[in-house]
């Protein structure tokens, strides 16, 4: 029994694996946060492109969101990772910079961000459509330039409508980081597997990892709820 729940194995200093787990956990958070923010950016551009862009832009974005939502995430990530790094190093060799090695964190953020962006585009597009059209029209009627209308009216007004969907996307982002273990990122799931393999304490380490993921979710939920309250400050809830 002591081998299954030997808590000293979670100690911060070696031979404990606590520090390794925590570093992996932080790595997961970095990946998730970076990918999520990138996804929001892509989502804003994607949604406005889909709503206000010309035919070419709209068609390209349609293909992007379709592919993202149709193909399993793991496949997408492998594809983006291998094709992306390959293309990048080819491009840089062709331009005479020699081969580059994009670091793992950047690559991981790009991969997660591209996947998140596809879903975020749809969430934000729907949220913009939910804004009563008169609010945007009023801004135009006062001569506000379109870029300002987007920043000062459309985006803040769509935020409460986008939040439930975007909160889900954050939860998915945190868990998608685990998929990157397949490519060899030392995020929480990979280091947990290493720790478990080395010590044979599978149950304990995977429970520990589970607790960490859960803690992240609980804290995120609190933050999201606060933000939702702020974003809905002017809305009368019909409950």
């Amino acid at each position: 029994m002591t081998t299954i729940f030997d808590l000293s194995l979670l100690a911060f200093e070696p031979p404990g694996w606590g520090k390794v787990l925590l570093v992996g956990f932080l790595r997961s958070i970095e990946l998730a946060a970076g990918g999520y923010l990138l996804g929001i950016l892509i989502g804003i551009f994607g949604a406005t492109g889909k709503l206000y862009g010309n035919k070419v832009v709209r068609d390209l974005l349609e293909i992007y969101t379709m592919v993202i939502r149709a193909v399993p995430e793991l496949v997408l990530m492998l594809l983006f990772y291998y094709v992306g790094t390959d293309l990048l190093s080819r491009a840089s060799t062709a331009m005479g910079f020699g081969s580059v090695n994009i670091d793992g964190l950047t690559a991981g953020i790009l991969v997660i961000g591209l996947v998140q962006g596809g879903y975020a585009t749809e969430v934000i597009r729907g949220a913009i459509l939910a804004i009563p059209r008169g609010q945007i029209e009023a801004a135009h009627a006062f001569g506000m330039p379109p870029s300002k209308v987007l920043r000062r009216v459309t985006l803040p007004a769509m935020t409460p409508h986008a939040l439930p969907g975007m909160a889900n996307l954050w939860m998915i982002a945190t868990k998608d980081t685990a998929l990157l273990a397949v490519i060899g990122f030392s995020e929480l799931t990979l280091v947990t597997r290493q720790a478990a393999g080395a010590t044979q304490s599978y149950i304990m380490f995977f429970l520990a990892a589970g607790v960490l993921y859960l803690a992240l979710t609980l804290v995120s939920n609190l933050a999201l709820r606060r933000f939702e309250r702020y974003a809905r400050r002017g809305l009368v809830s019909a409950r």
Binding site: Q135, E137, A138, H140, A141, G143, K148, A157, G234
Partner: protein, 256 residues
């Protein structure tokens, strides 16, 4: 400059697909004129008003504000399109529109709604914008409500806030599209009395309304629109006291 009409509309046509909604409208509002536009539902009143600030692009014809004609060009889908976006933005910044459904920005407080355009479109300093907004809110009777979000106020209060938002840009002309139609009957009076106040200051206005008694009272000129044409126009005493067209007679007796 001072003699230029505030709003001049020349042979304006607008079609939605195969439906021709405005069939050649020419109409002028001089400085300080208060033009009331009346007519049945679907006669094109809102469309006419929305062509003045180009929320709706005309199919043909011209609109000039203070003597400056919008630069438009033909587009592929039949209507005119804006040829000079900056010109349109500059003119719009001085045309205030009051909407039937208020269209305040719900994520901003009443005060923030009123200072938004002065600061972010006209480039006014924040202190000055706030100072002016406070005065305007006092004037429309919302001095104590400035930090409320519009969604939590009555329709009458929201519409008065929307009027303050328009006054904050010191408009060359104010466009009202049925400003009291979305209000409970007991709230209509408070909004009308604010508009009546503005009318007394000789502010140029174009006002679409179903409140005939009000139109008769404040308008300097009344326009009866029917099926996309101006069927009759004139001073209120004539339009309401001695209507010529049978349709106008019928319209007046049906709403009175």
């Amino acid at each position: 400059m001072a003699n230029e009409p505030a709003i001049e509309i020349r042979d304006l046509r607008k079609r939605f697909g195969s439906l021709e909604v405005l069939k050649g409208i020419s109409l002028t509002a001089g400085q300080g004129d208060i033009v009331a536009i009346i007519g049945g539902s679907g006669s094109g009143k809102s469309t006419l008003l929305r062509c003045i600030n180009l929320l709706e692009r005309p199919t043909s014809g011209e609109v000039a504000i203070q003597g400056e004609t919008y630069r438009m060009r033909a587009s592929r889908h039949g209507d005119l399109e804006i040829a000079d976006r900056r010109q349109v933005q500059r003119i719009r910044a001085h045309l205030g529109m009051v909407f039937q459904n208020f269209n305040l920005w719900p994520h901003r407080t009443v005060l923030e709604n009123v200072i938004e355009v002065p600061i972010h479109v006209l480039g006014m300093k924040r202190d000055e914008a706030v100072h002016r907004a406070e005065k305007l809110l006092d004037r429309v009777g919302l001095g104590s409500k400035q930090s409320m979000y519009p969604g939590f106020m009555s329709g009458g209060q929201q519409q008065r806030a929307a009027i303050a938002r328009v006054l904050a840009v010191d408009p060359l002309a104010m466009l009202f599209d049925e400003p009291t139609s979305a209000l409970d009957p007991e709230l209509v009076g408070e909004v009308l009395s604010v508009i009546r106040d503005l009318a007394a200051e000789q502010r140029t206005m174009m006002l679409v309304t179903h409140e005939m008694a009000f139109a008769r009272d404040v308008a300097s000129h009344v326009v009866f629109l029917r099926e996309g044409v101006i069927e009759e126009q004139g001073p209120p005493e004539q339009i309401f006291g001695d209507p010529r067209s049978p349709h106008l007679k019928q319209f007046i007796s049906s709403v009175a």
